[in-house]
Amino acid sequence: MSADDFRIIAPEGAAPTAYGLPLAVLAELTHRCPLQCPYCSNPLELETSGAELTTEEWCRVMTELADLGVLQIHFSGGEPAVRKDLVALVRHATEVGLYSNLITSGVMLTKARLVELADAGLAHVQISFQGAEPGVADRVGGFRGGHAKKLEVARWARALDLPLTVNAVVHRQNLHQLPALIDLSVELGAARMEVAHVQYYGWALKNRQALMPTREQLDVATELVEAARARLRGVLEIDYVIPDYYARQPKQCMGGWGRQFFNISPSGKVLPCHAAETITGLRFDSVRDHPLEWIWHNSDAFNCYRGTGWMPEPCRSCDLREVDFGGCRCQAFALTGNAANADPACAKSARHRELFQLAEAESAATPEGFLYRNFSGGSRERR
């Protein structure tokens, strides 16, 4: 999400609140996916197809979302196109007035299905690319033929005049292709590109050693993005997410915990962020048990890190506590064992130096084979 989304949008003159009405929702329709990206943001413990919400349940949920004030729905996964009812779900989103975005790997889409999706009111498509050519891309995605298929789907989308974002998750093993990825985005007619360094929790944490960029790679990438932004103004908008381990200040993750976004898992669990399940001990409520409005206001998982009252030092007395809200809770938990601690990406965290050194050491070592994401706890790449 972009920085602009951070401000709570309330009626003019309304009293300030700790959290607003939710603006956007990430709907993870399924955890099934033909790809096996080693940095997949899905939990290690993937939800099976039998547990997924039905079409009727998703439609009811979308109606509730619209009533609650949600404006945008991002259909994601896993691979959302695995769901046979994707077109029906997009149509329902349109009917209840939700702006819909499809976040897809592309590999399961046909031209006919894209036409149906466009007719159903889909506003935007985002396709992930794992590299700029099949060699790197298909290896990272763990799916042969994937890259070629993605190119085809991106071209169909543009031919249908569907606006396109190219999503490129970048790391040590594909950063050398960043210039080619930028060129590819322009060539495909994407108006937007996301260049996102891997965020390390879940699968990515297991693959950190193989994915961590060197400091030099990061600096080169940042310069490249800056130059491309200037060169491609009005042609390609580039959103850039830097890697936390080399940062000095943490991100305002999700625009603040439970402030205006949330995530719904395939089985209907309502999560303050897509990685929230990595924080053990949090209890999540399900759309199967409660109305969404009740969950938004009452779920413990949301209320425990809302506002600033839960913060220990150094965040408690920091001037930036209402700017970044102490960074990412999931990262704080992954690296310090306590989700309330300052995100170690912050220079004021006691763990910050250590993090930096760890990143430098891991990025200098020979990379291990990937641990590919799948339903059986992951498979080690054979090299």
């Binding site: 949008i9 003019e12 404006l71 506003a123 935007h124 009005g234």
Partner: protein, 102 residues
Amino acid sequence: MGRVVLSPVQRVALARHARLRFDKLRDRWILLVPEKVMVPDAICVEILQLCDGARSIGDIVNTLSKKYVADPGIIEGDVLSILQSLADKSCLQIATAAEGAA
């Protein structure tokens, strides 16, 4: 495709993926684009409502300068700067006066 620099002869409309709507719950106009929710101010909303793909930017400037009894030169500067920033975010469909509306 290169960057389009707007001029008064062009006719513009919101792109398919940029949707302007009034949000009752928040009591505000909202402009929805991928990954972003923008809150246009009153003047921006008024301009966008005039961007119907039929009027030229010059027509919009005339309409507004009559309505607000203001110097067309100043209004033109404001309108162009607002629309150019939206065009740079690829939120607009643009047609020159000679072509049909996109």
